[in-house]
Amino acid sequence: MTDAARPGSVLVVGGGVAGFAAVRELRRRGFEGELTLVDPQGLPYDRPPLFKEFLTGDADAHRLLLAPPPWFAEHRVALVARRAERLELDDDGAARPRVVLDDGAVLTADAVVLAPGGRPRPLAVPGGDHPDVAVLRTRADAERIAARVHFGTRVTVIGGGFTGAEVASAAREALAEVTLVSATAAPALTAVGPALAARLHVMHAERGVDVLEGLVTRIDHDDTEAPHRVHVRRLDGSEASVVADLVVAAVGIAPDTALAEAAGLEVDGGILVDAAGRTSHRAVYAAGDAVRRRGTEGTSPPAARHWEPALHSGQDVAAAILGEEVPARGTPWFWSDRHGVHVEGAGSMLPVPGGRIVDRAVRGTVVAGFALDADGRMTGAAAVDDPTAVKAARRIIDRGIVVDPARLADPDVPVRALLRG
């Protein structure tokens, strides 16, 4: 690509990890042009702590920041604390994209990166739209929840996935009375495998969280004795209800495609992008939780909506904008912290046909699981409190190393040792 094809200005919409990573990577790669980051929340901050230490008051707002405030001036990044209302594009691509802000201002740039992230899915049951049914996505959401979660507060968390598990754990740590409603007895099965999923799920009850396995059917709000009553149909068909002062709905996120859709970009379960984050318009790129890769139609995005894929997609978009090679990314990886344990996974723990799962246990407790294909190549790994094992496993997966299942199951053999073959 010639220098003339490099854009003179880039505008990024969204200050989460994907949007900020795009900005940081553009400068890291020597982009000298105008760089603007639009986010109504101002300084970019990191989201994972919102579900963990920020909820329990163990991290302040400053600790969340993805870069110290002076970084933006030092790197000549204009921060615009406004909401992008509209993206205007010409079909023929002759004019530069225009972003209209909520104060009516219009910004233009040679290239636009959309990184709007996801929105929490609403709880689609009667009473699910009450203001006391909180969701958690932004710092403001976390502040609202943290302010209400304390000793004795009755909190019902709906959703047993990563977000629900972390919020239930944080609320319990804050000495709230917590009920977790989970649709299954083993959430996160494909991410951590059956043995760890079961262990992690049981941990809720061990730490004093009441667990209801079933689906929420409705929430009543107007009883003065019981501010909110969450009705649940258990998996066995029986009915239960639980009284709550605060309900937190953690039933997944949906990609925020509103801006892209209104601008006429191709959208299908996410803003459609190629491997480098290019959308259907030549001057518009997209990254983070709002996107879906072309060619993955009909498949679930199990690992796509974690932190690191968002980071990488932002960095990759920066490379693509500058006409540089987009690096190959290895097996996706995630982590989760709850009830004092650190969970990590890489790849998928859903065994491929002909494959199997090898568990590693210490005195009867499963500490890690590995998915192997029929040839003994690793396709997934997960561990509790052993981040090095998962980082090693990830490299084993990426390099296609065939591992000895007996050594994999042996807790006395560091997974790292298997990396050397």
Binding site: A67, W335, P387, K391
Partner: protein
């Protein structure tokens, strides 16, 4: 005040591995990780990740970088620079030299 500490034979630290010199020995704020990088050189950095409390010495060495095992933040061993999020601030670096087969670490007394 700077002083040199002999932290043992270089041959005891294979490429890709680290040696932790406790702060009780170094007199510095943090433990120091002496890392044998994949470029063949030895580097010394503060052992605690600048993002969250975790030992970088347990991380993976890639080229002249080290990756924190906890959240994957990567640091340049030569400069301490934080190369990837979630870390945003550098870690401290120290001078380490191989002389007559031994590793000599130079530390500045913080106190």
């Amino acid at each position: 005040m700077a002083r040199e500490i002999n932290v043992g034979p270089a041959s005891a630290v294979p490429e890709g591995e680290s040696l932790v010199v406790p702060k009780e020995t170094t007199g510095t704020k943090d433990h120091i990780a002496v890392v044998h990088a994949e470029d063949g050189e030895f580097y010394a950095i503060d052992d605690t990740c600048s993002h969250q409390d975790y030992a970088l010495s347990e991380g993976f060495v890639e080229g002249a970088c080290i990756e924190c095992p906890l959240h994957g933040a990567s640091f340049d061993l030569r400069t301490g620079e934080a190369l990837t999020l979630p870390a945003t601030t550098p870690v401290g670096t120290h001078v380490v030299e191989v002389r007559d087969g031994d590793l000599w670490l130079t530390v500045q007394d913080d106190a």
